[in-house]
């Protein structure tokens, strides 16, 4: 889940690219992606998956918190 959020935080990606980079098996990948879409964190636009405003805000918050924790 964190990996998917991290990949989408960099830029919108096509499903196949996201799957390849996620290093998950396809069923698991689809399950996680569907959950993220269902919870309104990720959306599909023109064949690209991207973080929604909420997804972007949450992912950035986690990133900042982790950076603070590491420092």
């Amino acid at each position: 889940m964190i990996r998917l959020l991290s990949l989408l935080l960099e830029r919108p990606r096509k499903k196949t690219e996201l799957w390849r980079l996620s290093r998950l098996n396809y069923n698991s990948f689809v399950k996680h992606l569907d959950l993220l879409v269902e919870r309104g964190l990720v959306a599909e636009r023109d064949g690209y998956y991207t973080l929604t405003d909420r997804g972007l805000r949450e992912a950035k918050e986690i990133l900042e918190w982790l950076k603070r924790t590491f420092q």
Binding site: I2, L9, L41, I62, L66, K67, T69, F70, Q71
Partner: protein
């Protein structure tokens, strides 16, 4: 946590260098060479070698006296007595005792490279500053502390002081990384159930 990880890299590098390379300070006295051994694990702490071939050493809290009985010995092998891996103590007429000087030391000490490598990986991942990198760094930190504690247990009979230091570092690192990991999981779970 990055400072804790970096401190771990320094600590583990120092321990690896110190424990894997015992060194001795020797003093020539009359007909003997008397050495105090520092560093290393599972090595004698004090060693005396006399010109007549007899030796005395303080090993694992006990005193051992005997005579070197070399097999395929040459002069140089006697000159570097700290390289011996085992000493056979012969007590006439037949009793013999083999004292393995190194025991598990080599293996236990070189196992330190595992948490060291994991710590370096964790630091590298964390410094990348990406979300997944930081997450992986956290995972490496947890594994590193587990291995550090395991190695500390293996090292305990050989070098209690170093084992204590390593175990304490592993415990602090484990508690710290575990807590962050737990908080992160809770956060993600909340995100997905809200």
């Amino acid at each position: 946590m990055i400072y804790l990880l970096m401190a771990g890299v320094v600590l583990l590098s120092f321990m690896l260098a110190f424990l894997s390379g015992p060194f001795a300070v020797c003093v020539s006295a009359d007909d003997a060479v008397k050495c105090d051994v520092y560093g290393g694990a599972g090595v004698p702490r004090h060693l005396e070698i006399h010109a007549n071939g007899s030796f005395y050493m303080l090993y694992d809290g006990r005193e051992v006296r005997g005579v070197f009985r070399c097999v395929n010995c040459n002069q140089s092998s006697v000159q570097v007595p700290l390289d011996v891996r085992a000493v056979v103590v012969v007590r006439p007429p037949v009793a013999a005792e083999i004292i393995r000087v190194y025991q598990l030391s080599a293996l236990a000490v070189y196992l330190l490279t595992i948490p060291l490598a994991l710590n370096v990986l964790a630091v590298v991942k964390a410094l990348q500053g990406r979300l997944y990198g930081l997450y992986k760094g956290l995972k490496y930190a947890v594994w590193s502390s587990f291995v550090a504690i395991a190695v500390a247990i293996a090292l305990w009979p050989l070098n209690p002081a170093s084992a204590l230091l390593l175990g304490a570092y592993g415990a602090v690192m484990l508690m710290s990384a575990w807590q962050v990991n737990r908080r992160l999981r809770q956060w993600v779970d909340t995100l997905l159930t809200r």
